[in-house]
């Protein structure tokens, strides 16, 4: 037999029992050739282009799924940051583009289309400022659209004017979608050091240096890692790191295979594989459970940040070895609402916003899917964004903020979206003010690290 009995059973166990899946195959489509002075022509071009490349996206992914017996949870599309091709449009026209994107997503049968975005780390054009203003309405009027804005980078520093605008946009989005627990905020990410080839929604977009069309893959599998750690028993930390590395290596290989095959079916270039441990609300598919299996009593206990750092690192190392083109975030995600273990830790009072912030310094993204009281002032949200962005630019890593100031709700209540977005307990935010600091506006200069030439 060309494979050992155990090897075959291991693969079956990973795919069938431990929820290993390809989290997303994301087709990146450039919209740079879709600009036009006339908004109706532009809308038609956008719609035609997405259908041209994306028409068979879901069908192809399903075929590959059946062939290899590995489930592909989501099929998605990312697009050029909308502010780039449509820089000349006003708020109303941009909203119309957003609605067109939503319609196209509906037509090709995908759940999310991401890239209603702007990159404003160093400054804003008129169009970019318009896009930021339009976000709350675009998100309120659509179902599938996701938005992200990059407000800082190691090279450019932090654009505090944009941070303040985004804090306002988050508040307005929460209000505009108050009927559905402020769900708009779950589709809005504020980045520092955003990556151009991230396949994971809501923060995905098709970067300006990307080709016409490309297929990126996001793989996950906290369940597989959790079982491997449990099976390893009481080994020391170095050995534990090896266990994680070996497991990730195997699932990255599978992701690489699936990505290439889906790209081949489309006849488009294969971009990157992003191996990120992303939890889902399903039991056992939890980063919190992994941290607990590593030995901390609950997430939030001293040692949690070290454990998370130790989880994040072998994920990257194994990914690098397993794939010729690792990209995106590649690490561990720690969203609260999508992870039952995190939710329980918050409910038990073990996990605070501040501890989550510390954890984001060593994992792959940032404050993710965190519900906060609806009356949190915009200046406080701006302060939260600035803190996260500072961690990002100083450590030369991506950080993000996806907070939900749940309209009309207070600590102790919940927002509940069901599905992949899950439900989140509203967390306490300190009510001491940041307004005099963030209100100064301007820019936080680029750090020392930016001068590497």
């Amino acid at each position: 037999m060309p494979y050992e009995f155990d090897e075959i059973l291991e693969t079956i166990r990973m795919t069938e029992v431990e929820h290993f899946d390809i989290r997303t195959v994301t087709l990146g489509i450039s919209l740079r050739d879709c600009s036009d002075r006339n908004v109706n022509t532009a809308k038609q071009r956008v719609y035609d282009k997405i259908l041209k490349y994306g028409r068979n996206h879901v069908k192809y992914a399903k075929e590959i799924e059946a062939r290899y017996g590995i489930s592909i949870a989501n099929k998605r599309v990312s697009i050029t940051p909308v502010s780039i091709p449509f820089d000349g449009f006003g708020v109303d026209e941009l909203i119309q583009i957003g609605e067109t994107l939503d319609k196209a997503a509906d037509e090709i049968g995908i759940d999310y289309i991401a890239g209603y975005s702007a990159l404003v780390q160093k400054g804003m054009t008129v169009g970019e400022a318009n896009l930021i203003k339009s976000i709350p309405y675009a998100l309120a009027n659509t179902k599938h659209l996701c938005s992200s804005v990059n407000i800082g980078s190691t090279k450019a520093g932090i654009n505090m004017d944009a941070v303040n605008l985004m804090a306002e946009a988050i508040k307005l989005t929460a209000e505009a979608t108050k009927e559905r627990d402020s769900i708009g905020c779950a589709k809005l990410v504020v980045f520092a050091n955003a990556v151009e080839d991230n396949p994971f929604v809501a923060g995905a977009f098709h970067g300006v240096s990307e080709p016409e069309v490309v297929l990126n893959v996001g793989i996950s599998g906290p369940g597989v890692v959790l079982d491997a750690i449990r099976e390893a028993g009481s080994v020391d930390l170095q050995q534990l790191s090896e266990v994680i590395k070996k497991t990730i290596f195997k699932i990255t290989r599978a992701g690489e295979l699936i990505g290439k095959k889906v790209a081949d079916k489309h006849g488009v270039p294969y971009g990157i594989v992003d191996i990120s441990l992303a939890p889902t609300p399903a039991e056992g598919d939890s980063i919190a459970d992994i941290l607990k299996a590593m030995g901390v009593e609950d997430v939030g206990a001293p040692g949690t940040t070290a454990a998370l750092a130790m989880l994040n690192d072998p994920v990257k190392k194994a990914g690098l070895m397993a794939s010729a083109s690792v990209g995106g975030m590649s690490g561990a995600f720690i969203p609260v609402s999508e992870d039952m273990g995190m939710i329980r830790a918050v409910e038990a009072g073990n996990l605070s916003l501040e501890k989550l912030e510390a954890m984001t310094a060593v994992c792959s993204v940032g404050l993710d899917m965190i519900a906060i009281p609806g009356d949190t002032p915009a200046s406080t949200i701006a302060g939260i964004i600035a803190d996260e962005a500072a961690i990002g630019i100083i450590n030369d890593k991506t950080t993000a903020v996806r907070v939900i100031p749940a309209y009309g709700k207070k600590v102790g209540e919940y927002v509940d979206y069901g599905g992949l977005l899950g439900k989140a307990p509203i967390m306490n935010v300190r009510n001491i003010s940041s307004s005099n600091f963030v209100g100064r506006g301007g820019k936080i200069p680029a750090p020392m690290r930016s001068l590497t030439n």
Binding site: M1, E7, A66, R67, K260, G267
Partner: protein
């Protein structure tokens, strides 16, 4: 180079103008086709040339009972599948079967074979997985 739909439209418009009175739908079509001939060939996208075998790996497990192997092999035989390797283990009351099967000569697609196996799986109350060999090769062989 490749032509976008807009390029083609533009070429067609030029052809119609050039042809003037003579422009008939057939003639325009012919002229345009001749003009773009040989230009529009897109270079095929290559994402590495991993050779993929025509083999699949079938794994079945469940409570042991007579006739499991028989029903599996009968279905595979009918579909003209070549069983290249077979190994089986029984642990207490559970059995596990792993087969390496070449389906390149089969009259059925993998999808159809999976449907057949799903039927057997329901009848025999066992679990059957049929996956392309590549996934095992990628995960366990460098």
């Amino acid at each position: 180079m490749k032509f976008t739909e807009e390029d083609l439209r533009r070429i067609t418009m030029i052809a119609i103008n050039e042809l003037g009175e003579k422009a008939s739908p057939e003639l325009v079509k012919k002229v345009v086709a001749k003009t773009v001939e040989g230009y529009g060939i897109e270079r095929p996208v290559s994402n590495g040339n991993d050779k993929s075998s025509g083999r699949v790996i079938l794994t079945a497990y469940g409570l042991n009972k007579p006739g499991i192997i028989a029903s599996l092999t009968k279905a595979l035989g009918e579909a003209q599948c070549d069983i290249q390797d077979l190994s089986q283990k029984i642990m207490s009351d559970f059995f596990t079967v792993i087969m390496v099967i070449d389906i390149s000569g089969s009259n059925k697609e993998l999808r159809e074979l999976q449907d057949v196996m799903n039927r057997i799986s329901d009848e025999m109350k066992i679990k059957i997985f049929m996956q392309h060999e590549d996934v095992f090769r990628f995960m366990h062989r460098i």
